[in-house]
């Protein structure tokens, strides 16, 4: 239903508009207005400087925001005079080149069993090509810096990088270095002293990595999975057996 609205076109008496504020000049105080204007300027500057400081501090983020807003060229320019067959040939050649390079990269992975040692998580991964053969826990360097006197100190950390098994030993005997005696508060015997030789502490197998570092067994099985060693890699009996049986002299060991 249509509602009819009647409008009164006769002249109306003027009424006071309550929405508009009345300016009363009697209230005008130049001193107060000046003070307020001064304050407005002061606060304008104050907040402006504050904002400027934040702009300075977060300028990289703002630049990034501006980069997001900056127009991007999304179109692909294609030469209209280009021959698609030649273009396709170029594409194929590039794809072949990429494939060949990918093969070269894949060939870097050893084909015979290889070992990864994670010193931060104290884990081992026995691999063959790209396949995981066995995963286990180990103990690696403790990062203890042992100080003895002024000039002597040792740091117990496992070296990182690529190594090879230089020697595979059955029931290895430990030749105790100087730090082993220092750590136990015992006097250091001469280099050829029989006191330096200890058997039965390195487990069933020992895989030498060079510079005195070994992968070996341990008597302290409760410490497996923790960084407690003097740089060698300690494994539990089962893990050691799997590793020793799969790895041979010359096998690659990657430590990170």
């Amino acid at each position: 239903m249509k509602r009819s609205v009647r409008r009164d076109f006769r002249p109306q008496p003027k009424t006071e508009d309550k929405t508009q504020p009345r300016i009363e000049f009697d209230d005008f105080d130049p001193e107060k207005t000046e003070k307020k204007l001064g304050l407005a300027l002061f606060f304008g500057l104050f907040f402006g400087l504050l904002a400027a400081f934040f702009v300075f501090l977060y300028a990289p983020n703002l630049r990034d925001l501006l980069f997001r807003l900056a127009p991007r060229e999304n179109s692909v320019r294609v030469d209209s005079s280009a021959d698609p067959k030649l273009y396709e040939r170029e594409l194929l050649a590039l794809a072949k080149s990429v494939q060949a390079k990918q093969k070269r990269i894949d060939a870097l992975i050893p084909k015979e069993p290889w070992l990864i040692i994670d010193t931060s998580g104290n884990q081992i991964f026995l691999m063959q090509d790209k396949t995981l053969l066995h995963k286990g826990v180990c103990s690696t360097g403790s990062y203890v810096l042992l100080r003895a006197g002024r000039n002597k100190q040792w740091i117990f950390r496992t070296p990182r990088g690529q190594f090879r098994v230089l020697n595979k030993m059955r029931r290895p005997v430990w030749y105790m270095p100087d730090w082993a005696f220092v750590e136990e508060g015992r006097p250091i015997p001469p280099r050829d002293s029989p006191l330096r030789y200890e058997s039965g502490v390195l487990g069933e197998y020992g895989l030498a990595l060079g510079q005195g570092y070994l992968i070996h067994g341990t008597l302290y099985k409760r410490f497996l999975g923790m960084p407690v060693t003097h740089g060698c890699v300690r494994l539990g009996d089962e893990d050691l057996e799997v590793v020793a049986k799969n790895m041979d002299t010359g096998s690659k060991v990657f430590i990170y």
Binding site: K35, G161, R186
Partner: protein, 289 residues
């Protein structure tokens, strides 16, 4: 809270400015002018000019970007073909980078944003593969990608210049040698500290690239949250110091390109602890644009 206090102060001192501004446009304009002048004075050299500098340098000048230009006759190659070419070029560059890294003896890093993977490499062999939970890239990278120089920016591998983190590089514990066997026995009974810190680190590379690696997990406690906050603030202030240095030398500050990745805490720790001082990195961008 601060604003409330300010309002309270102004009201109590009969200095409430709000009614004063209510119907006075000139006063509002003056206030805004004085508010904006310092902002613009800082924003123009630090925000606007560096962006203009990059976007100007990366704007197209001639159509030499896509391969196939210069061939004669026949129908034009399609957009899909050109995109495939871009993608293959990126793959080719990444393969070249990996081959380059395989020549090095040290541990290297490969960030593959296309497959969301971070690899630790030794002699080209991936010894740890970490899945990227999420990543973000500087918005300036697509502008660089528009240039033909993208591939020269990606190759040779990026060289690490500096690194900062919330955890120590080597968790070294200093111990003094025991005087006798009794003291040694007492020392042997000490507990082994277990590391459970949150891991966040920043790697600053050459060619103006910063890689920030964060742990996926939220801060484990208030202490770690504070540590992370302090770490972020340190980075912001370091950037501010670099900006000041540039301004003193009367140079427009260069916008740093950044990539932020989140990986698990264990992965982040393993990566940070493993990377050497002279790290080199291969980067695979998800797309060329």
């Amino acid at each position: 809270m601060l604003i409330r206090l300010l309002i309270y102060y102004f009201e109590s001192a009969h200095l409430n400015l709000l009614p004063f501004f209510k119907n006075r446009l000139p006063a509002q304009l003056v206030f805004l002018f004085f508010l904006l002048v310092p902002v613009f004075m800082v924003a123009v050299p630090l925000v606007i000019l560096p962006v203009i500098k990059v976007t100007d340098a990366t704007s197209f000048r001639g159509g030499s970007r896509t391969a196939g230009a210069g061939f004669a006759g026949g129908a034009a190659p399609t957009r899909a073909m050109a995109e495939a070419m871009d993608s293959l070029r990126l793959e080719d560059t990444y393969a070249n980078l990996l081959l380059e890294l395989s020549k090095k003896d040290s541990i290297m890093l490969a960030i593959n944003l296309r497959d969301s993977l971070v690899d630790l490499l030794i002699k080209g062999v991936p010894v740890r593969r970490c899945r990227i939970g999420s990543y973000a890239m500087s918005q300036a990278i697509p502008h660089i990608a528009r240039r033909d120089s993208l591939y020269t920016w990606l190759f040779p591998p990026f060289q690490l210049l500096s690194q900062t983190a919330t955890i120590p590089k080597s968790p070294i514990r200093i111990m003094d040698a025991p005087k006798d066997t009794v003291e040694a026995e007492a020392m042997a009974g000490q507990e082994i500290p277990i590391e459970n810190n949150d891991v966040h680190f920043t790697l600053q590379f050459n060619r103006n690239l910063t890689v920030r690696i964060e742990q996926e997990q939220p801060p484990s406690n208030t202490g770690e949250f504070k540590k992370k906050f302090a770490f972020d603030m340190e980075r912001i202030f370091a950037e501010a110091r670099a900006t000041l240095k540039n301004l003193r030398a009367k140079k427009i500050p260069e916008h740093k390109l950044w990539i932020e990745l989140s990986v698990s805490r264990e992965d982040a720790k393993a990566i940070y602890r493993a990377i050497p001082v002279k790290l080199q990195m291969a980067l695979f961008l998800p797309h060329a644009r």
